[in-house]
Each structure stands twice: as structure tokens, then as C-alpha cells.
């Protein structure tokens, strides 16, 4: 070997070595796989908004409504007020390191100003404590009478920013309450309340049973079944002015009315042909289209969000199960296909707002529970653990399912998250509460 070659070889190796040295910091020394986490509510500190400047106090405390909303969703764990380590009202005085010490993920602060006798303005800021930066900051005007609605709107914004899902706090629930007087006489009411149970208003009072409230897509009307004439009839009522109209009074059953997603039709069950069948009722023309023709019971239709499919309960197979039918131009395009094969009894399907899930009542060995079918892969998951659950209805953001159940011999409402993780009990109203229907989200909210 020539001496010069050796010299070049050494230089070459040196260069490579140096390059390698230079290259290694760009690649991390370690890679760690994280394949699990914990389930839990995200800790959030909501500091009471500054209201000391107000001439007239607000009728309700915004922050306690927000805390209730966030806690009810099961996704958040608001810090108890007594544990707040500081009370900032805007970002300028926030010390993130302090909030990190008490393990808060988020911080919500705000101020309320009075603009007039009943006019106010709220300004709030939401912070990511560990990142030490603002997530959002907004100000809204509102009037005193809308205080609760404003608080729910703020909850919706916080919920949406932190979970990626739209909030459903600024929504309503319709439900039926059955009261029994001491005389034994029964009274039935169709009620509407805020999603947190406040502001209950009765829109119909009857001595005969009321059933199946169903919201129109614009949230302005409710369809329902009333036995006031000692037989079931379908009515449609304007929620906000009480005006109502009887839609059907056919022989036999007039039941299970459900608004189509485009608001132009009601699917319903009529037995005028001799046995319960599904029909489409066109609101503008009152024209009826028969959708099923089978001696079995066919009832409880539910629309897919795009209006192309109807899922319904039928016992054509012997026992009640869920079937699906495809529609085109309001006519069935195929024979109904069975959807549920697990369990002895499956009824009362309810589509999620995104159409991916179907909630239902599932019965096994005498126990009736709420289950959810994932449409894509046909997996059924039972979400509740009680015995007498019924009437599942999705929240308009698809996050929760509200349903009726029995607790301490009373009919009450409860809610469960779609993945079964979060369970809620709703405020117990007087009487037996049943048949909840969650209003849709409207852009106005």
C-alpha cells in the first residue's frame, strides 16, 4: 500500500465519523410507545366571573350553570369553588404555574358588564394551563332573561373547543310526566325543559295518556300521540305558541310519529289496514304512503340523518327485532332487512345524529336495557345495567343518550354516553317521567 492511500483512508473515516456524530442528535435517542391512557374527566377550573361592576345582579350565576353543564357531560371535572387558588378575571393576572400545581388542565375566567337596564355583556377567556396559552376568548351581549341560555352557550363553546364536538347544553328536552293524585286520578303532561332540567314548561295537560313526543328538525314543533279522545290520535303542536293540529284519527292505531330530516314528512304507525304498518304522511298534502305490508307488527320507525333509511321494530320473525328499509323518493326500494340478531327482544331504534350508531331497547331474560349498535361493523354494546330502561334518544351532538328508567319505583330520566363510560341522573321531576326527546341543535343556538 502506498503511504498516500493510507492517509486518504484515514481522512475518509474521520469524515464519516464526524458526520455520524453530527447526524445523531437529529434522531431521538429513545422512542417510547404509549398505547393506553386513562379514562376520566378533564379537570377544569372555572373562576366566578367578575360581576362587581353590575348595577343590577343577574338572575342566575353564570358560572354555577357552566359548572353544572360541564360536570353533567361527564367529560369535565370542575374544581370546587372553595378550592380555587386564585380568582383572576382575565389573562393578565393568570399564573399558569400555580394552576399546574393543582393539576388543572384548563382555566375559564371572565367578566360581566352592564350595558343597560337589562342588557349585559360577558367576556370570557379559556386557557390551556399546561401549554400556558389561551384557547379562545370571546365576548357576547345578552339580556337578563337569557342568562341561563348565555351560560349554556358558554358551556357549549368550552365543550366544543376542548373535545372537538359541538356542545348540546343550549338545548331542550321534551318528555311526558304522569302524575297520580291522591284520589287515584291520573294526569298526563307534555313538558319541555332546558337540557339541565330547568325552566320546565307544560305545553299540554290531559287526563288521558300522552305518548311519543317527536321534535321537528327546526325545533319549533312537537308531534305526539294523545288519548284524549279515548283512542290514540296524532297531533302536531307549535312549541312556543301552543297552536296545535290533529293530523290523524284513523281506525286503530295512530302512533309513533317521527319527523323526517327534511321536515316534510312524518313516518308513523297505523293499523287501519288491519295490523300495524308503517306509513309516510306528507305534511303539505296529507297524503299517505304505505311502506310496509306484513301481518306482523311494524312500528317505531326512526330516520337515518340523510333521510334515506328507516329502521323500525317488527315481530315478523316471531319476536320484536329491528329491521332496516331503504327509501328513495319516499318509497321503499327493497324489502326490509333484519338488523339485530343478538338478544331475544330489540325495539325502539333511534339513530345518532351522524348516522353511525343506533340506540335501542334490548331485552334479555326479563331485563330491558339500552344498547347501541355500531352500524359500520355491526357490533352491539349494552350501555346500561338496570332492568326497565326504554325510549332512548340521542343528544343532538351525538355524545349522550337520554332514556327513561325506573328508580325507587319512579319513572326518571337518565343519560349515558355512547361509549358507556359516563352515566348521569337527571333532576327528578315530580311524577313519573318518561319518553324523553332531545331537541335538535339549531344554528340560532
Amino acid at each position: 500500500m502506498q503511504p498516500s492511500n493510507k492517509k486518504y483512508r484515514n481522512i475518509f473515516s474521520l469524515v464519516i465519523f464526524v458526520l455520524l456524530l453530527a447526524a445523531s442528535p437529529a434522531k431521538a435517542a429513545l422512542t417510547i410507545q404509549i398505547t393506553e391512557g386513562v379514562d376520566g374527566a378533564q379537570p377544569i377550573a372555572v373562576v366566578p366571573f367578575a360581576t362587581d361592576q353590575l348595577k343590577t345582579a343577574l338572575p342566575y350565576d353564570l358560572v354555577s350553570i357552566i359548572n353544572n353543564d360541564l360536570a353533567r357531560s361527564g367529560r369535565f371535572s370542575p374544581m370546587p369553588e372553595k378550592d380555587l387558588i386564585a380568582r383572576p378575571h382575565d389573562g393578565g393576572t393568570v399564573r399558569f404555574s400555580d394552576w399546574r400545581l393543582v393539576n388543572m388542565d384548563y382555566l375559564l375566567v371572565g367578566r360581566v358588564r352592564q350595558l343597560g337596564d337589562v342588557n349585559y355583556e360577558v367576556q370570557f377567556q379559556l386557557f390551556d394551563v399546561f401549554k400556558g396559552e389561551q384557547v379562545t376568548g370571546i365576548s357576547y351581549p345578552f339580556v337578563a332573561g337569557d342568562t341561563r341560555r348565555m351560560a349554556h352557550r358558554i358551556s357549549d363553546i368550552v365543550y366544543e373547543k376542548l373535545t372537538g364536538q359541538r356542545g348540546a347544553f343550549n338545548t331542550r328536552i321534551a318528555y311526558v310526566t304522569a302524575l297520580t293524585a291522591v284520589t287515584g286520578k291520573r294526569q298526563y303532561r307534555l313538558n319541555i325543559a332546558d337540557s339541565d332540567g330547568f325552566n320546565e314548561q307544560t305545553i299540554l295537560d290531559s287526563s288521558k295518556p300522552l305518548m311519543s313526543p317527536s321534535w321537528s328538525p327546526d325545533g319549533q314543533q312537537l308531534a305526539y300521540v294523545s288519548f284524549e279522545a279515548k283512542r290514540p290520535q296524532i297531533f302536531v303542536q307549535q312549541v312556543f305558541n301552543g297552536q296545535r293540529q290533529r293530523l290523524t284519527d284513523f281506525k286503530g292505531l295512530n302512533s309513533a310519529p317521527v319527523w323526517s330530516p327534511d321536515g316534510k314528512h312524518l313516518a308513523m304507525t297505523l293499523s287501519k289496514s288491519g295490523n300495524p304498518e308503517l306509513y309516510l304522511f306528507e305534511l303539505a298534502t296529507k297524503k299517505l304512503t304505505q311502506l310496509t305490508k306484513h301481518p306482523a307488527i311494524d312500528t317505531e320507525p326512526t330516520w337515518s340523518p340523510d333521510g334515506s333509511k328507516l329502521v323500525f321494530t317488527s315481530d315478523r320473525g316471531g319476536k320484536p327485532q329491528l329491521y332496516i328499509m331503504e327509501l328513495s323518493r319516499n318509497k321503499p326500494v327493497s324489502r326490509p332487512r333484519r338488523l339485530t340478531f343478538e338478544g331475544e327482544y330489540n325495539a325502539r331504534g333511534a339513530f345518532s345524529p351522524d348516522g353511525k350508531y343506533l340506540a335501542m331497547v334490548t331485552g334479555n331474560r326479563g331485563r330491558f336495557q339500552i344498547a347501541v349498535l355500531e352500524m359500520a361493523n355491526n357490533t352491539l354494546q349494552v350501555l346500561t345495567d338496570s332492568r326497565l330502561d326504554e325510549s332512548p334518544s340521542f343528544a343532538p351532538n351525538g355524545s349522550m343518550i337520554i332514556y327513561a328508567t325506573n328508580r325507587n319505583n319512579r319513572g326518571v330520566l337518565a343519560a349515558v354516553s355512547v361509549d358507556g363510560r359516563v352515566h348521569q341522573r337527571l333532576e327528578v321531576q315530580q311524577g313519573d317521567v318518561r319518553e324523553p326527546a332531545w331537541s335538535p341543535l339549531t344554528d340560532a343556538q
Binding site: A28, I32, K131
Partner: protein
């Protein structure tokens, strides 16, 4: 003057002739190359007609011997001539002396004192001249000698050169051998070095193994802490993968968090970022050298359900 020349005209002519002859001979005699001048071997003309080769050869040899002898003779003659020359010179000098003496004798009566002085001076001059001559002779002789010496030197130099070349070759060989030896030694050293390095590497590997065990252990601890602090986003996160690059400082505090591969879902990305921040400070080995290997970590968040 004219008188002197007229009186000694013959001697002068003779002297000139001799000098001319001497000069001519000198010209010829300095050319002692092997090249023969037929002029000098003129006298040996072979008149015989019939001759045989051996005889010719013998004759040639004879001629050659004669030639050699002649050469020698010539050499001698040259030397003689030189001597002659010298003698002649001397003679001339003597003659001149004589002349001068005569002059002086004739001028003796007129200038005895001057003659004496002149004689003296002349003697001196003569002596000086003689010395000079002698010096010149010596010089010439020296020159001859030098030239001889030069020749010798040249021969010697040539010899030296050849010897030097030989030596060079030998040296070169020696050098190559020396280089080869050096290389062998160098190789040996290299091997020893490599062996030493290998041993060092093995030692390092052993230390690494220990370090790796430590790192493995702390990797588990870190993972557990991050898992504990990761509040999973609601809803299905199946298939979502988010990679976060984290930089630690001694003590395990997280000083930089960067999502280098997004899952495509903002909420998911934020949740994993929050998880590593909340898990700060991460548990690190006590040995700072080992801990230093864990200052850059990439977390790959991929929920299985």
C-alpha cells in the same frame, strides 16, 4: 643594436628556427589521443609484396608495438622536447646573457661601474627571470600534473559515480527493506491498537448493557407516568397515531414538546401534548451519564381501541 643583430645574425636565425621547430613539435606533441597520425609513423613503410596474414598480423603487431613504443618515444620525446625547449630556452637565455655580456664588455670600458651595476641588476633580473621561468615551469608542470590529476580525478570521479550509483541502488534496496520493516511494525502496532480498541469496545458494551438495563427500567417508569397522565380523548381514537418529540433537562423537567407527526385530529394531538407536559418531571436514572442518553425522547401515542 643593429650591430649586435648583424654580428649574431646566424645565431639569431638558428635560434628562431629552433624555436619555430620547438613550437611546431609542441603543437604536435600535445595531441596524444589514440588517434594515430600516420605522419609520425611514416618511416615504417612496408615494401614487401607477398605477405601472409600471420606475417601481416605479426607486422601489425609489430607495428602496434612499434606504435606503442613510438608513443612512448613520443612521450619521451615530448618530455625531451620540453626539456629541450627548456634547455633551449635556457640556452637562449644564456645566449642573451652572452649578448648582454658582450654588450657589456663593449660598454665595459665606458660603463664599468654601470656594467657592474647593470650586471648585478641583470643578474638579479636574470635570477628573477629564471625564478619566474622556473616558476612558470613549475606551474606548467603543476598544470600538467593537475591535468593528470584531473584525469585521474575524472577517472576517479567516474569510478565514484559508478560506485555511487551502485551504492544508490543498494541504498534504495535497503530503504525498501527498511520501509517494509516499518510497515510490518506499523501493521503490528495497528493490530495491537485494534485489539485494544476491541477490548475497550467490549468494556464499553458491558457498560452499555448496564446502562441499557437502566434505560429500559426508566423507560418503563416514564411510560407509566405518561400513561397515568394521559386523559384519553372522548369517542373512538382507533387508528390515530401522534408522535411527540420531547426534550428534557437534567432532573427530568420537560422543556420542549413538539408534535412531529400529527394524528390529523387536533383534540387527540392536544391531549398527547398535555400528557407529556403533565407528566413532567419524568423519572431519570441517577447516573448523569446514563440519564444524558434519555434527554431526547420521542413518544408514539397509538391507542389500541
Amino acid at each position: 643594436m643593429k650591430e649586435v643583430i648583424r654580428n649574431n645574425f646566424g645565431a639569431i636565425i638558428f635560434s628562431i628556427a629552433v624555436h619555430a621547430m620547438l613550437l611546431g613539435l609542441l603543437f604536435f606533441s600535445f595531441d596524444f589521443q589514440p588517434e594515430r597520425k600516420l605522419l609520425t609513423i611514416k618511416p615504417n613503410v612496408i615494401k614487401a609484396v607477398a605477405v601472409d596474414a600471420s606475417k601481416v598480423q605479426a607486422e601489425l603487431e609489430k607495428l602496434k608495438r612499434a606504435d606503442d613504443r613510438n608513443k612512448k618515444k613520443e612521450k619521451d620525446r615530448i618530455a625531451n622536447l620540453k626539456r629541450e625547449e627548456n634547455r633551449l630556452r635556457k640556452k637562449r637565455a644564456a645566449e642573451e646573457k652572452k649578448l648582454a655580456k658582450l654588450k657589456k664588455k663593449r660598454q665595459a670600458e665606458e660603463r664599468q661601474r654601470k656594467l657592474e651595476q647593470k650586471n648585478l641588476a641583470e643578474l638579479k633580473k636574470q635570477q628573477a627571470a629564471l625564478k619566474k621561468k622556473q616558476q612558470a615551469e613549475t606551474k606548467k608542470r603543476q598544470a600538467e600534473q593537475r591535468k593528470q590529476a584531473e584525469l585521474k580525478k575524472q577517472q576517479a570521479a567516474f569510478k565514484e559515480k559508478r560506485q555511487a550509483e551502485l551504492k544508490k541502488k543498494q541504498d534504495a534496496i535497503k530503504k525498501r527493506q527498511a520501509l517494509a520493516k516499518k510497515k510490518r511494525e506499523a501493521d503490528k502496532k495497528q493490530r495491537q491498537k485494534e485489539l485494544a480498541q476491541q477490548l475497550a469496545a467490549e468494556e464499553q458494551a458491558r457498560e452499555d448493557k448496564l446502562a441499557i438495563r437502566e434505560i429500559d427500567k426508566y423507560q418503563v417508569l416514564i411510560r407509566q407516568k405518561v400513561v397515568r397522565n394521559w386523559l384519553k380523548p372522548t369517542g373512538s381514537s382507533k387508528g390515530l397515531v401522534s408522535t411527540v418529540k420531547v426534550r428534557l433537562i437534567p432532573g427530568g423537567d420537560v422543556i420542549d414538546v413538539k408534535v412531529i407527526k400529527s394524528s390529523g385530529n387536533v383534540i387527540y394531538d392536544r391531549s398527547v401534548e398535555r400528557a407529556v407536559r403533565k407528566a413532567s418531571p419524568l423519572p431519570l436514572p441517577k447516573d448523569p451519564a446514563i440519564a444524558a442518553r434519555m434527554y431526547d425522547i420521542e413518544f408514539n401515542f397509538a391507542l389500541e381501541t
